[in-house]
Assembly symmetry: C2
């Protein structure tokens, strides 16, 4: 990688909002689509990334920033797929912040297509912290129940897409996907919604196509 | 209920620690066992309480404090079982605090056996806030995966019991209950562990018996 292409942020001491804005501007201007994945623990964020990598590569390049309280487990899973991954362990903090992403900026290849950020497993706090993403996606897994959007409204209100995950478990699980989708759209009518299963592969292609279209839109907007 | 038996806390403006201490002292001295249930969203806290109520009543009395960001849904489910329930909606806050429990103290019947507090669905932040409970129980549902204890260590370190929930989903879910239990005990060797399913009823009696024994211990200690 050309040294001149390394991303360096001007101000890592600003507010979360200011740092996020700079991350978004710099990465968008390079044509990198940044996704912030938010969900409860165990909703399937890492497994989704493993499945997506099979669809997106080798045509597109991707890298992953893993956020966890402790352990390198998720980054190790991603690296085992041959994908560059950085692990941020927050050591107790319940969410990622933009400055944590900003500190990694010099290591992010400037010719990347997709940068996925897997937030700390928490359906509440990460919703309040812009990481400079182009797209925020909330995952709701079927075992959590279809009543969650109204109980945790902020993450649904602030996201651009909703993935209902683990749909292979219904039935026997009593999850009404249409009810969950309707409730989420009641909070945020602009949500793009997907129903996926990493086990059967259902819906993964559709979501990958959405990501590719979003990448193309980002790059067209850059030249507009 | 005798008016003199109403619980009034002296100091609702103290630190969380001080308020929690007073709640614990007052409720323990009345012989009320207070449980703080912590888990990810949708791990089955409300369903566990519904199942427990069938085992504990009419021999024992119970009441429930429900913590949620938004909605009265969980309190309505508990009330539908004929159980007194208060809903605390935190309006965005990611955990309950002792002062929220303290404000309800005057409404808590002083002749209660069990007071269950269902915390906000969040495996991270509630671990840092003592609510004055006698027992803290963390729930880990099988769909979340058996790798969670080391990723979210604080809640396992600060709890007295671990309930592995939704064991009816294994198999097909690839959850290694013994590995999860071992990892949790590695963090906190004193954890009492239970494996339960509200669907099949497995393990619910065993947990109910543990609660009754804990209540008896609390009352014996009071007279010692």
């Amino acid at each position: 990688m050309n040294k001149k292409e390394v991303l360096v942020l001007r101000d890592l001491l600003g507010s979360n909002k200011a740092i996020a804005k700079e991350i978004r501007e710099q990465l968008s201007s390079r044509g990198i689509l940044v996704l912030n994945l938010i969900s409860s623990p165990g909703a399937g964020k890492t497994t989704l990334l493993e499945s997506l990598s099979d669809r997106l590569r080798p045509e597109y390049s991707m890298a992953v920033i893993e956020g966890d309280i402790e352990t390198e487990r998720d980054a190790e899973r991603i690296r085992a797929k041959g994908i560059q991954a950085w692990q941020i362990t927050t050591g107790g903090a319940c969410h990622l912040e933009a400055k944590m992403i900003g500190k990694l900026a010099p290591e992010i290849p400037a010719d990347l297509d997709f940068l996925f950020i897997e937030n700390v497993g928490n359906l509440v706090c990460p919703a309040s912290f812009d990481l400079g993403e182009s797209l925020r996606c909330v995952l709701l897994s079927t075992p959590e129940g279809d009543d969650k959007p109204q109980k945790y409204p902020q993450v649904f209100a602030s996201s651009q897409c909703l993935l209902i995950t683990k749909i292979d478990l219904v039935p026997p699980l009593p999850f009404d996907g249409e009810a969950a989708r309707r409730e989420a759209l009641g909070i945020n009518p602009r949500l793009q919604t997907f129903a996926v299963s990493a086990v059967t592969g259902a819906g993964i292609n559709e979501f990958a196509e959405f990501l590719v279209a979003s990448l193309q839109n980002l790059r067209q907007a850059r030249h507009a």
